[in-house]
Structures are given as C-alpha cells and as structure tokens.
Symmetry: C2
Subunit: 283 residues, 2 copies
C-alpha cells in the first residue's frame, strides 16, 4: 500500500512523528515537509529523515496526494490561505488539531470537500521534533470529524491513512468531539495545572509518584496549552463548572463529622471508571 | 549492620514490601510477621519469605527490637492495646500511616517514648502483599514526625531503619506533615477521583495517556482511601477550598472573551513547579 506523495506541514511532536512513522513503514512514495523556521528544517535534516524539506508551503503541497496540517490551531487558517491555490483538486487535506468545532468553522469554508478534521489522541508533555517517535500512533485513538459536507470517499481515505499508522479510528461529530476531549484531556490538564501551581515548595520536595503522575501533563508547553484550552473554552468551562460543583459537595462532606457515604461513592465510581479504560496498547 | 529482631504487623503493600526489603538486604536477625487473617499468612508462606508468621500480635512483638505498624490507621490503636504489655522496654515502635496528627494523638499516649511516627512516601494504586516489592522504599522520601516527647535516640534509630532500606529521611512536625500530604497526596487523590467519577463512558473510551496518568491514583482501594482522606479531613478540606477558589477564577477566565493572562500564569506556574520536582530515583 502507498499513500502517494504526503506533505507534512509543521514537523513538531505530531508532524515529526508522522514523518518518522511514514518513513519507517514506507507508506509514502514521496514525503514533503514544510516548516516556517529554517532551524526546524535543519533538525529534520540532521535526523536523516528521507524527505524533501522546504520553507514554502505551496511547494510542499503542489504534488501532494495527502496533506497533514500539524501547525498550532491559531496558525492553521493563514497557512491554508497561503497554499490552497497550489493544491491538487484530488488532494486530501486533514489536520491534527486537538479542538474541532472551531477548526471546522475556519477551515471547511477554505477547503470545502477536500478537507476532513482528524485528532490523533497521542502526544506527551514534550514538544517539538526532538520528542517525535515513529510509534506514537500505534494503538492510539484517532478521531475523525466529518461534517455533512465531507464526501464519504475523503473520510475513507483519511481513515485508511491513520489505520496505516496503527491508529484506532473513531468517527465523531465535531462538537461532540470537543465535549469529549474537554472531559478527558482539557479538564484534566487544567486541574493538573491548578494543582501543581498551588503546591508549596516544601510540600513539592516530598512529592512521590502519585503527585508526579497526577500532574504530568502540566509539564506541557504553557503557550501551546493556552491555545488549546482557549479554543475549547465553551465546552471546557461547562465541564469545569460541573466538576467545581462536585468538589464543593465533597468539601461539605469533609466537614466534621465526615460524611463518608459521598466520599466512598465518588472513590468507588472513579475506581470503576478506571477499570473500564481501554487497554493501553503501547508500553 | 543488623536491626535485631524486627516485627511487621500487617503485611499488605507496605508491610509486605518491608518484609521483602529486610530479607533481601539481610537487615534483620529475625523477622516476625503478624497478620490477623490466616489467608494473608498463607500468601506470605507461599512466597517463601524467611520469617516467623503468627496470628498473635503479642507473640510477634515479644522479642522485637523494632516493631512496624502497617495496619490501616483506624485499626492501629486497638492493635497497640492488644500487644503493648508484651513489648520490650527498649523496643522502637513506628507506624507507616499516611496521616500523622491524629495518629500521634491516639498512639503516643499508649506507647509514649517508645513510639515515633513514620510515613514512607511510597506506594502504588495496588494494595496487598501481592503488590509488595523489595525496592519500594529505594529513593522514596520517608517522613519522621517526632514530638516533644520523642527521645532523640528513638528518632535516630527510626532514621537508621529507613535509611537502611534506601529511604530519604525527612523530619517534620506531625501537623505540618498533614498539611503537606494534603497538598501532594490527598488533594491530588480526591481530584483524580472526582475527575474519573464524572467522565462519560463515551469519552472514557477515547481516553489516552494523559487521562490515564492524571487519574491513576484513583484506581487505589476506595475503602483504604476513604479512611486516609477522612483522617486528614481538616487539612484536606482547607486545601480543597483554596483549589476550588482557583478553579472558579479559571472558569471566569474561560468565559468569552477568554482572559488568557490568568490561564497562562497558571500553566506557567504549574510548568515551573513540575520542573522543581525532586528527581525520580526509581524507574
């Protein structure tokens, strides 16, 4: 199987991992990589990835059968405007943004039926090409968010692309996607940050594995996460409000005499929810 | 170096790991293990730990130079009353309870100068002897909580005991200990539980590594954690209240137009706090 010519725009953690995975699995006939910064291109050259590198997005997409937008959400629309005239009519364009409602509203008017939103649920608290890994997508859920304007053929090609990289493809409405990621990604991130931001230095020095894991995601790039959380502000604030309400009830329960039933109910529900987590596919 | 005769009362995750570590490092001349349940004793026998096993706490402590209480906090005082008449006058008694203020108030009147509180900051979301590991304490902070009644000699013997097992010994006032663990252990646990308890099944099915890590501790035993959180309810509810206030401010900031400055400040403070975490000593 070959995906033809693939263009990766923005070789950071996700884009870089895509490049490594495509190269390792020999999935692309030809691999084009665009980065705005010459230094980013130098890093990829130094890593010996078999790809053609360019600082010109139109040049990157001109022959491409598949184009993957891996730049930050707030930079996407401008980049699309830069390259879209060079795009082949049959090209498939997708992105890897972690928010989808606002991306659909911005990008679909620019690219129409050639574009479908993707969100690979893979990553780490690290950023940049230096953290990229060829196996990043193996076993990871990848959410596709077709709309009423997305041709079935494009959806199938996008699904085939991600499955070729080891992803577990799931299909979701863009706004429902944003609801779910608010719950499993954005709210956990905000909580981890609030928790780590508040702990005193003396307490921090005693922290063990539990604290380390609970707050791990908060080591992610503050600037990157500011954009992600802001892009999903409506869904995130809704779920945050519900969680604050739960926490207020738990605080009430902790006032002596401690009301153990609510605490136990919460601990049990959490325990049961975790037992239902999909199995971890990678070490 | 030898610690003489060591008695472990309650061979669960912590007590069992103590037994394995003492045996592996050949630190005890003689190792006594008490468990109330005959089945727990069978498990230890089956694991081939070189120890004398008994269902009678007085028998376990009679010859002991060091006694480690590894039973749940709410069972401690009753157990101490059962065995204390059998204790040698020179014995050192310590416990591994994860709350210290209430334990001091309960146990010190019963054992006086023979007792000092300990809290090894090691563990996992698993429980019981089956999860025990000989290297559990290597590099882990171990907090000692001497009071004005604790002889310096007892403190030094306790410190020597934990250092022999690889622990990094820290000394803290019992109530300050409870403040710190509220921040780095009990509040993170409660947040992880509240988060995991609220997520919808559909969202859960898409969860990746971030959600898994953020909520890992919530797979711990609900009954065990109910007791831990309840025992530290005053400090925990104080820190929970402060966190709820932070979360309310963050929610305000998320109302459009998103006030990015507060979000970014929190994300940066969290990022910096995590960079100051003590290095992980074990894989």
């Amino acid at each position: 199987m070959t995906l033809g010519t693939v263009a990766i725009l923005g070789p950071g953690l996700i884009g870089g991992s895509l490049a490594l995975a495509l190269a390792e699995r020999e999935l692309a006939q030809r691999l084009m990589i665009y980065a705005r910064s010459p230094r980013a291109l130098d890093d990829i050259r130094a890593a010996g990835v078999a790809a053609e590198l360019t600082g010109n997005p139109s040049e990157a997409v001109r022959e491409a059968d598949v184009v993957i937008l891996c730049v930050p959400i707030e930079a996407m629309a401008e980049l699309v405007r830069e390259f879209r005239d060079a795009l082949k009519p049959t090209a498939l364009v997708t992105d890897v943004g972690s928010v989808k409602g606002s991306v659909v509203r911005e990008i679909e008017p620019l690219l129409g039926a050639r574009w479908i939103g993707s969100h690979p649920m893979a990553g780490s608290e690290q950023a940049g090409f230096a953290a990229a890994r060829a196996d990043l997508f193996e076993g990871a859920p990848v959410i596709l968010t077709p709309t009423s304007r997305t041709p079935l053929e494009m959806e199938q090609r996008a699904a085939q692309f991600w499955r070729a990289l080891g992803g577990r493809v799931v299909r979701l409405d863009p706004d429902l996607h944003d609801e779910y990621v608010a719950q499993i990604s954005h709210l956990p991130h905000l909580l981890a940050a609030a928790l780590a931001a508040r702990v005193s230095p003396e307490a921090l020095d005693l922290a063990g594995g539990g604290f380390r894991d609970t707050t791990r995601v908060a080591s992610g790039s503050p600037e990157l996460w500011l954009e992600i959380l802001s892009s999903n502000a409506p869904a995130l604030s809704r779920h945050l409000e519900l969680l604050i309400r739960d926490l207020q009830n738990l605080r009430q329960a902790l006032v002596p005499p401690v009301e153990k039933s609510l605490l136990l109910e919460t601990l049990k529900a959490a325990h049961d929810a975790r037992a239902k987590l999909p199995e971890k596919r990678r070490p």
